[in-house]
Assembly symmetry: C2
Homo-oligomer: 353 residues x 2
């Protein structure tokens, strides 16, 4: 019910402009083929009628949909992992500029079993609902990427193909090591010396990449790193506990803690509060992601911010190449994040105190 009034079709426009349907189609898709006079007449008819090509018909005819599938991964409760939010916003805009829209991939629902992401991708693929996917699961070492590749589905990844040297797909990633290096250098420049690393899993490649930035900066400054590595599951609780242990038992208390995520960084903040220590004054703390929480938690958590707008436009650029007429070699793009300094490393900073 309440459907909008009958939408005008190509034939309506053609009738009004006194041309054939094909000419209208050309006016829309290949305007350069028309004589100027004809084009403006057709254009006028299009405007008057408010004509917009019917997507279903176009999709059926061309075999494309100008839709890109993305699996939305919500922020887990109790974490600061809110990068998806900013990424989606950026991607919607970048895709729009290229004439694409985003369709959210819903996990497959095999009755009462656990949700199955691959079934979600598979359904969309089989029903030719999307032209391609943007996948963000590479951070998690999940099988989606490999599955899509083997399925020969077009996709671009946000995240390097860590485990797969033979990967033949395009990707865009953020240089975590460079970001953490800058963060560590910032702490060193402020006079910190005993700077710990707090990661979530020593064996995870993303974690290890980020940690390498800390190591590089420490070594470059001639500072030791031995015995200064801690890790905790990527939850505030676990990080609070791990940070507490570091703060309490170390023979020398840390000057500062560089964390692999904002969630971990906020855990450190908790541990400091519990001990009556002040972040930024007594101990410097740095996170990674520039999450909403990092921005607003007192006294502000200094954090490494990925240029997600650039990530989105690079991804869309790769998508266009991938879906374009000529075959292209896959590309990999590494973008450099920037450090956002707040109260947790610089008490004079942050707008709130």
């Amino acid at each position: 019910m309440a459907t909008a009034p009958q939408a005008p079709t190509l034939a309506d426009v053609a009738r009004r402009a006194g041309v054939s349907r094909q000419t209208v189609s050309n006016a829309v898709n290949n305007p350069s083929l028309l004589r100027e006079e004809t084009l403006s007449r057709v254009q006028a008819a299009i405007d008057e009628l408010g004509y917009v090509p019917n997507r279903a018909a176009r999709n059926l005819r061309t075999g494309t949909t100008r839709l890109v599938g993305l699996r939305y991964i919500a922020t887990p409760d109790g974490t600061a992992n809110t990068a998806m939010d900013r990424f989606v916003k950026a991607l919607v805009g970048a895709a729009r500029d290229a004439g694409y829209h985003l369709m959210l991939v819903a996990d497959g629902d095999d009755g009462s079993e656990t949700p199955d992401p691959i079934k979600g991708y598979d359904d969309l693929l089989r029903s030719t609902a999307v032209d391609a996917f943007v996948v963000t699961e590479t951070f998690l070492d999940q099988p989606q990427t490999a599955w899509l590749a083997q399925r020969r589905a077009p996709f671009v990844a946000f995240g390097r193909p860590w485990g797969e040297p033979e990967a033949r797909h395009s990707w865009v990633d953020v240089d975590g090591a460079a970001g953490v290096r800058a963060a560590t250098e910032h702490l060193i420049a402020r006079g910190h010396q005993r700077i710990w690393w707090l990661g979530w899993s020593p064996s995870n490649r993303v974690d290890a990449d980020r940690r390498s930035g800390w190591e590089q900066a420490m070594h470059a400054a001639g500072l030791p790193t031995d015995g200064l590595v801690a890790s905790a599951a990527d939850t505030v609780e676990a990080a609070t506990e791990a940070a507490g242990a570091v703060l309490d038992t170390a023979d020398h208390r840390p000057d500062a803690v560089v964390c692999a995520t904002d969630t971990l960084g906020i855990g450190v903040l908790h541990a400091l509060v519990a001990r009556g220590l002040r972040a930024g004054t007594d101990v410097g703390v740095v996170g990674f992601d520039d999450s909403s929480a990092a921005q607003i938690v007192p006294p502000g958590l200094t954090s490494v911010r990925a240029p997600l707008e650039d990530v989105a436009s690079e991804i869309v650029a790769a998508l266009r190449r991938l879906l374009g007429p000529e075959p292209v070699e896959p590309t990999g793009v590494l973008l450099t994040p920037r450090l956002v300094v707040r109260g947790s490393t610089d008490p004079s900073d942050g707008p709130f105190l």
Copy 2:
């Protein structure tokens, strides 16, 4: 390039099963029409071929897409307004269960002008890209809802039609007054008496609704409300400043502050930290939204949590009715949020201390 192998069509299945194409179509859409034996034979062919109906063809034929448009509103930097994130996740699932997918509405891009949300809706509508919309702009008194209604576009709103008594669309909303009432009662039960209200705009209806919950609880307990209302723009900075003024100049310092949003609540936390006061011990603080930041900011911000999973499923239910064969009256559903108690009102609570 790299397109998946040619997808099987209805004709392929028909040939394999030794029936006509329509019979396969019936097997998919009206299985009850087929004899059991035929059905299972067709079903076997479908499974063997991995057949899934082509969406474009189906869309063209039926005039529907089983796609729902949603405009994604990202968390503004520097705020805790992360409800969209949880809502999207819930909506993707609820829609999937009803056979729908979400398509994100991109703001219109009129060259270099400011983004135009209505153009985004209009494009999708004109090109018959979606069957309906879910709109969340009602909180903001924005014109999208009215525009869609006047355009006779099918949609369901998250948020009451505050300004439009004559609205003829279905909506689902959260009872902010009830949530804030519960929060205020919780503070009163814990012995607080001088409880301030901090909103973002006295004239905003959502703000006023939530404030009314505070008033109700205060009056019911025989506590005064006069002179205990403050307001600040919905940013941490503004809230910090406003809360500071309240804390410094009041003849009696507040026992507690009930806030219309988590962003405001976190501003209060900042003001407390700056004055060496402890949230939950010296002053109780309550927010609204149960954002990621509320969950993890020390010492945990007690907050009113909307049942977004229920909101999503009610919205999808309304959508199904709206798009169903028979005309239906619009419905309005009001859901009750629940209070999540954390350290900012109960020092013994929260997992982090």
